[in-house]
């Protein structure tokens, strides 16, 4: 009975305890302290780097299964060539198939950027996982610029797409790379502004601090900011409805054209890992990360809550990807520059003013519920106001366009 309670106590903070146990083993084997720290850090880095890879293997299967069921078919299953119960091993079968494909080397390509591009895409995706908070004391590295580090890496990965497109010696690849970078740069701005709003409200760039401030999850305090961040992140990871640049029927798959076999597999993997990272980021910023009931007693539950929230966001991402058609490039860019950026800017300015105003008008401090309520009303108010203004402007523009078009046909006289 006592050993059971000790086992449960060990399990309550399992990962940290396993780390301490390994450290004890290493120290007992006679290694000195700097080397022990180095080995512990290397083991931690390996675990953190393998986590997204394992999640993606499961995610690809889940995506195909959910898509199939939503479309009224079965998806990977255990009939035919056996791929595990419910077809779980389907991803491994796909990976083996990709490994056995011929590695085509097209003529006239630039060898080094062509081969480096898939590696760098996966590098940038994995590097963002170093600052994801998995639990109250489980984080790769609690940098004091946590969220900024993630944004910087996803921005630095843009140039890799240009490398891939240009070195393929194919005009469709180059045009696809141009458009892809135009889309990604454009949608980075509302993403950055939404994150800035969250940083302003919580007061810190550190991930653990942002999670620590969310007694009420920020989704309920700043719903419109979450909406902007979610849409901008869907565009950043090239998910439908923003999937124009890598769809098979548009521009022959964009900058992927000349890649086959495992190189294409790495691009595919990198895209899914980006989606997982964005889901984890949304869960951290807006849903409260590892917070949940009973986390003080059993910190391992923090990791469980984090994984559940990440899974919920991934499910939402899958649903949207399966049900929406694709936008055209001009619709996509118009949506960004004419709707999301003004909304994000208005959001940032007004929330900043209100946040500062709360500390000025109530010098005694307010309870968290009051503050949450004020922020929520401000957020919804900004959304309605911006939408109203933009809709009125668009209606006026539409009327002007129709008058001009009718004048072209000769029906209406347009007075100067």
């Amino acid at each position: 009975m006592e050993s059971l309670s000790r086992f449960l106590a060990f399990l309550a903070d399992a990962i940290v305890n396993i780390g301490d146990w390994i450290r004890g083993l290493l120290l007992g084997a006679g290694l000195v302290d700097p080397w022990v720290s180095l080995i512990m850090k290397a083991i931690g880095a390996l675990v953190v780097a393998f986590f997204p890879l394992m999640v993606v293997v499961f995610l690809i299967w889940a995506y195909r299964k959910v898509a199939a069921r939503m479309q009224g078919r079965l998806g990977p299953n255990s009939s035919g060539t056996w791929a595990g119960p419910y077809g779980i091993l389907q991803t491994f079968a796909d990976a083996i198939k990709m490994l056995t494909k011929e590695d085509i080397r097209p003529q006239g390509i630039d060898l080094i950027p062509y081969n480096l591009a898939p590696i760098l895409v996966v590098f940038a995706s994995i590097a963002t996982w170093a600052v994801m908070p998995f639990g109250p004391r489980l984080i790769g590295s609690d940098l004091n610029i946590g969220i900024f580090y993630i944004l910087a890496f996803s921005s630095a990965a843009l140039v890799v797409f240009l490398m891939a497109g240009w070195s393929s010696n194919n005009k469709y690849a180059t045009v696809g790379a141009f458009r892809s970078v135009a889309q990604l740069i454009g949608y980075e701005i509302p993403q950055l502004l939404a994150v800035l709003t969250v940083v302003m409200v919580t007061g810190s760039l550190r991930m653990q601090e942002i999670v620590g401030q969310q007694e009420i999850p920020l989704l309920f305090q700043l719903p419109v900011t979450a909406f902007i961040f979610f849409l901008a992140s869907m565009a950043e990871v090239n998910a439908r409805p923003f999937e124009l640049l890598e769809a098979e029927s548009e521009l022959v798959c964009g900058y992927f054209i000349e890649y086959s076999g495992m190189k294409f597999g790495m691009f595919y993997l990198g895209e899914f890992m980006n989606s997982t990272a964005v889901a984890a980021l949304f869960a951290t910023l807006f849903l409260g990360g590892w917070r949940g009931p009973w986390v003080e007693q059993a910190p391992i539950l923090g990791t469980v809550w984090f994984l559940l929230k990440m899974g919920l966001m991934l499910l939402l991402w899958m649903f949207i990807q399966i049900t929406f058609p694709r936008l055209r490039i001009d619709q996509m860019l118009a949506f960004n520059w004419k709707f999301l950026v003004p909304l994000a800017l208005a959001n940032l300015c007004v929330i900043g003013l209100v946040n500062k105003g709360i500390t000025e008008w109530f010098p005694g401090g307010v309870s968290t519920w009051t503050r949450a309520g004020i922020l929520l009303m401000t957020n919804v108010g900004i959304f309605l106001a911006t939408w109203g203004i933009l809709a009125a402007l668009e209606r006026r523009e539409q009327r002007r366009r129709e008058t001009w078009r009718a004048a072209q046909v000769g029906e209406v006289e347009v007075s100067a």
Binding site: D110, I112, P113, L143, N144, I145, F148, Y149, L151, A152, F153, S155, A156, L158, V159, L162, M163, W166, T174, F178, V181, I185, L205
Partner: protein
């Protein structure tokens, strides 16, 4: 050799080697890629200098924005490559001599000057101090606003110059 010195040599070698690769590359696209690698090395140096904000800003601004701009410009101006241009002009030997002479003078100057350094660590809230300084009216609020006006002017100017008539 402490760990910091090893890391300094590593990132310094990356930055300097990539810079030399940039000036000796045959194709200008390769030169742009070497330049991005040099930026990455410099970002590593910023981490060693305990300025992590600037390391991330280096990745963001230089690699993500300026690098992309330069590669766009290369693609827009290489479309019709009729003849392969020689990479260096006629006075390249003089330029090399001048650069080497400047390097020798600068290196000798900084090496033998007794700098008044402190060995204090950077404060843990240096990021907060930077933010406060940039918006403090007695700090750098005015240069901050002027910098944003400068960026707006540069953008409007650039768009006006490149517009198709």
């Amino acid at each position: 050799m402490t760990v910091q010195q090893v890391l300094f040599f590593l990132f310094g070698a990356i930055a300097l080697g990539a810079a030399i690769g940039m000036v000796t590359a045959r194709k200008v696209f390769h030169a742009a890629l070497w330049m991005l690698l040099a930026f990455f090395g410099v970002a590593g140096l910023y981490v060693l200098l305990e300025a992590p904000f600037f390391a991330a800003a280096q990745l963001f601004v230089y690699m993500g924005a300026i690098g992309v701009l330069i590669i766009y410009a290369i693609m827009l101006t290489r479309g019709m490559m009729r003849q392969r241009l020689p990479r260096v002009n006629d006075q390249w030997w003089f330029a090399g001599l001048l650069a080497a002479a400047l390097l020798v003078v600068l290196a000798w100057l900084v090496w033998q000057h007794p700098w008044a350094t402190t060995t204090a660590a950077a404060p843990a809230d240096s990021l907060n101090r930077l933010g406060l300084t940039l918006v403090d009216p007695e700090g750098f609020a005015l240069p901050f606003e002027v910098a944003s006006v400068l960026l707006v002017m540069a953008l409007i100017g650039a768009v006006t110059i490149v517009r198709e008539r």
